[in-house]
Homo-oligomer: 165 residues x 2
């Protein structure tokens, strides 16, 4: 237990790996909701399999992962869904100070250390950091304001190579 | 850029700190949806303030943070909302291999490096790792199955000291 001065670095060790049909950034769907039926396999390290118990009861799960191919962090980006430079933290771009990605995906079934998921929007080989159950009560508060995305969501939904690693 | 073998550790450095009314785990609301009007201040490091641009357009944001007071990881836990031992990854308990916490909170306003938020459910002094806009299209897929939580959500919603750090 460390004191809370907000500066201690934290070392994360991947708990597994995410397999997907996407081998390069370009053309990859930019969010699970745009990834349709893209099938993924989340493979958890054997030593952690006991931690997957009860997960099969949830229809959706949250994957946290390392944007391992992301270039150096920036403070502003032109997001895929926009044509204007935006503050990084108002976007889901991978070029973040702490390159943690977050995707909500549908859980089809659990098979030992393997989670079969639908709607995967990450690169094949992405290091997995955490899995959480998606709970609408906690995670879907019914947002009313969507910022720049209110316009942007009407735009194309495929990645190009602007954040190519 | 590193090769994708899913084993490289990742060093995260906090981008700021979260202030809340909660100074100990016991009695703290266990999720933002239960934290009602609990007021929090998210203070971002001065060097990163430009990254907050455009965030004020979003009514809800996702905070990722370090569970800095969490005890050692476990593979099963009895969650606050249950009485039965569950697989860790089917819970939101802090005792995770990579102790990353996730809360969706309401953004009231942005004042320089300070985000004023409502519904904060984290300990005062919690190190902040990332901020993302909450986008219902991406993050609220309308889950149909809630696993063990379908029962548990009817139970009490305050933390006790079972994960005391």
């Amino acid at each position: 237990m460390t004191e809370a001065h907000g500066n201690d670095s934290v070392v994360m060790v991947p708990i597994g790996v995410i397999h997907s049909p996407w081998h390069e950034t370009k053309g990859m769907p930019i969010q699970p909701s745009r990834a349709g039926d893209a099938v993924g396999r989340v493979v958890v390290k054997p030593a952690l399999v006991e931690g997957l118990r009860d997960l099969d009861g949830f229809s959706h799960i949250i994957l946290l992962y390392h944007f391992h191919r992301a270039p150096a962090p920036r403070l502003t980006v032109v997001p895929f869904l926009d044509t204007v430079e935006r503050g990084l933290f108002s976007t889901r771009a991978p070029v973040r100070p702490n390159p943690i990605g977050l995707s909500v995906v549908r859980l089809e079934r659990v098979e030992g250390p393997i989670l079969h998921v639908l709607g995967i929007d990450v690169l094949d080989g992405t290091p997995l950091l955490d899995i959480k159950p998606h709970v609408a009560d906690f995670d879907a508060p019914g947002a009313e304001r969507l910022g720049w995305l209110a316009e942007g969501r009407r735009r194309a939904a495929e990645a190009d190579d602007r954040f190519k690693g």
